[in-house]
């Protein structure tokens, strides 16, 4: 209770005046941008996706390092989680590279029948090949989820054994 009151006190006494100065300061010293900045550029979405892949990948690498440093891999559950993280990290790398490639080497549909099984894609240069194979990203994502599920199932099995 005392702690809660002190936090509220801190908010009212220290933070609120600062926030007010920030808000009212822009009225006293107006700048050309008085409201939010519009983000309509399509490339911005592209970069958001790319950063999200990078962030996901870094988090997975961090997770692997953390588990390795803690010597957790002795447990089978953690070992499986490490493999899941490896595949998640690889999947993010694949998507990250795939997005860049797709930006420069868009898949070109070859002339001919356009049915589900008959449609073909031109492989004019190495970029097209890379684009093709990076699009098979589920070959990395599915194993990642399989390992993740097996890891959790292993923890549950161990917990049940421990309970018994």
């Amino acid at each position: 209770m005392i702690q809660g009151r002190s936090i509220l006190g801190y908010v009212y006494c220290r933070l609120l005046p600062g926030v007010l100065v920030l808000l009212l300061g822009s009225m006293i010293f107006p700048s050309p941008a008085l409201a939010f900045i519009p983000h309509w550029a399509p490339k911005e979405a592209f970069f958001i996706r790319q950063f999200s892949y990078l962030f996901f990948m870094v988090a997975m690498i961090f997770f692997i390092v953390e588990l390795k440093l803690e010597r957790s891999p002795r447990q089978r559950g953690f070992r499986l989680l490490i493999w899941a993280s490896v595949f998640f990290a690889l999947w993010n790398l694949d998507c990250f590279i795939g997005q860049w490639i797709a930006l420069h080497f868009e898949a070109q549909v070859a002339p001919g029948p356009q049915g589900f099984f008959s449609q073909r894609l031109n492989m004019a240069n190495p970029g097209n090949w890379l684009n093709y194979f990076t699009r098979l990203d589920h070959l990395l994502l599915v194993p990642a989820f399989i390992y993740f599920y097996l890891g959790i199932r292993e923890f549950r099995r161990q917990a049940q054994e421990g309970k018994q």
Partner: protein, 363 residues
């Protein structure tokens, strides 16, 4: 020009998305069961949130892809194009959510290790307490039996002396040819035999004190100080000793008394800052052997001192509040006394007095 069929891409995407849906759902269900089993387990909580974030991510991604393919097959590619930005935006946010939950693992891991260490510490402490309790029970039983036996022997000896005394007087007053003289003779002999029996019984009861033995209190204190020498050096606390020149023999259970004394000295060590002093001394008077442990530590206020022997009362983080209770019980079982004096900022002095009756100087 080389060309490759596009259907492997679509097929992998559809099948992969369906598998991701299934697996993320199964993983979430499993982690939820795990958390239900033990809601206070930090690791299970982390796995639950990670699997929840991955389920949301898997759902958003897989549904976006599957719906996109269905619409394309149905010839509604414009609808698919409308959905793509929403699905893509949501996927990006959920990717970040998964990453954020994963990065939180560091804190969870630290918390988990701390909990595990605390749990281990508690388990060890409770095992020690249990073992000590068993020994104390055996000690109390043994001592009670000895005291009862000695009490009975003492009670029988007094009337026997009376009977023996009167039978001898009767023998002296009875004429040699008196037929009752034989009766008085029989009474005197029987009384003597009974006295011998009582004496043997008494000796047996005294020898039966398996849990108690005659020990030198100074040597016990010295052995504990030797054991804790490293702790003294580590904390930079000076030890000052002042032991009685002759042995301070007392009837004690060496092992149990050592537990109590080690606890008191450890407490003194914890309370004393670096470069502080701890004095340990022994003294002997007519009826008691005394051990004094005094430190120059932070001391205790009177309200803490008044509650020091209360069960579960502790000022230490992670303490059980049973240490001093056991110390007092151990001293009580040795028919001794323990006295604490403390001044805040000056230190604490613990005085233990143990009776030396029944204690004999070894030949």
């Amino acid at each position: 020009m080389i060309s490759l069929p596009s259907f492997p891409l679509a097929l992998t995407d559809i099948l992969g998305s369906a598998l991701v849906l299934l697996l993320s759902g199964a993983a979430f269900s499993c982690s939820r069961k795990l958390l239900r089993q033990d809601p206070e387990n930090a690791l299970w909580l982390f796995l639950y949130w990670l699997s929840l974030a991955l389920l949301a991510f898997g759902l958003s991604r897989a549904l976006g892809h599957i719906i996109g393919h269905i619409l394309a097959v149905a010839g509604r590619e414009s609808w698919a194009n409308q959905i793509t930005p929403y699905s893509g935006g949501l996927n990006a946010i959920l990717s970040i959510a998964v990453a954020a939950v994963t990065l939180f693992f560091h804190n969870i891991q630290r918390l988990y290790r701390r909990m595990e260490a605390d749990h281990h510490h508690m388990e060890t402490t409770s095992h020690e307490i249990l073992a000590l309790n068993k020994e104390m029970e055996a000690l109390v039983m043994e001592r009670t039996m000895c005291e009862m036996a000695l009490g009975i022997a003492d009670g029988i000896r007094n009337p026997l002396h009376v009977i023996g005394g009167f039978s001898h007087r009767l023998l002296k007053k009875t004429a040699l040819d008196d037929p009752t003289r034989n009766w008085a003779q029989a009474i005197a002999e029987a009384t003597k035999r009974m006295e011998q029996m009582v004496e043997r019984f008494e000796n047996l009861a005294q020898d039966k004190k398996a849990f108690f033995s005659q020990e030198d209190l100074t040597k016990i204190a010295q052995s504990i100080l030797e054991m804790l020498q490293e702790a003294f050096e580590h904390r930079g606390v000076h030890l000052v000793t002042g032991f009685h020149p002759s042995p301070a023999y007392v009837q004690v259970n060496k092992h149990i008394l050592k537990v109590a004394l080690a606890h008191l000295i450890r407490n003194a060590l914890e309370a004393t800052p670096a470069a502080g002093e701890i004095h340990v001394s022994t003294a002997v008077d007519k009826s008691h052997a005394t051990l004094v442990i005094s430190d120059s530590g932070r001391g205790m206020p009177p309200e803490v001192l008044a509650r020091i022997f209360e069960p579960y009362f502790t000022t230490k983080v992670g303490g059980t509040g049973l240490g001093m209770v056991f110390v007092r019980q151990i001293i009580d079982e040795h028919r001794g006394t323990i006295n604490l004096e403390s001044v805040v900022g000056q230190g604490t002095t613990v005085t233990i007095r143990l009776p030396i009756r029944f204690a004999e100087t070894p030949i």
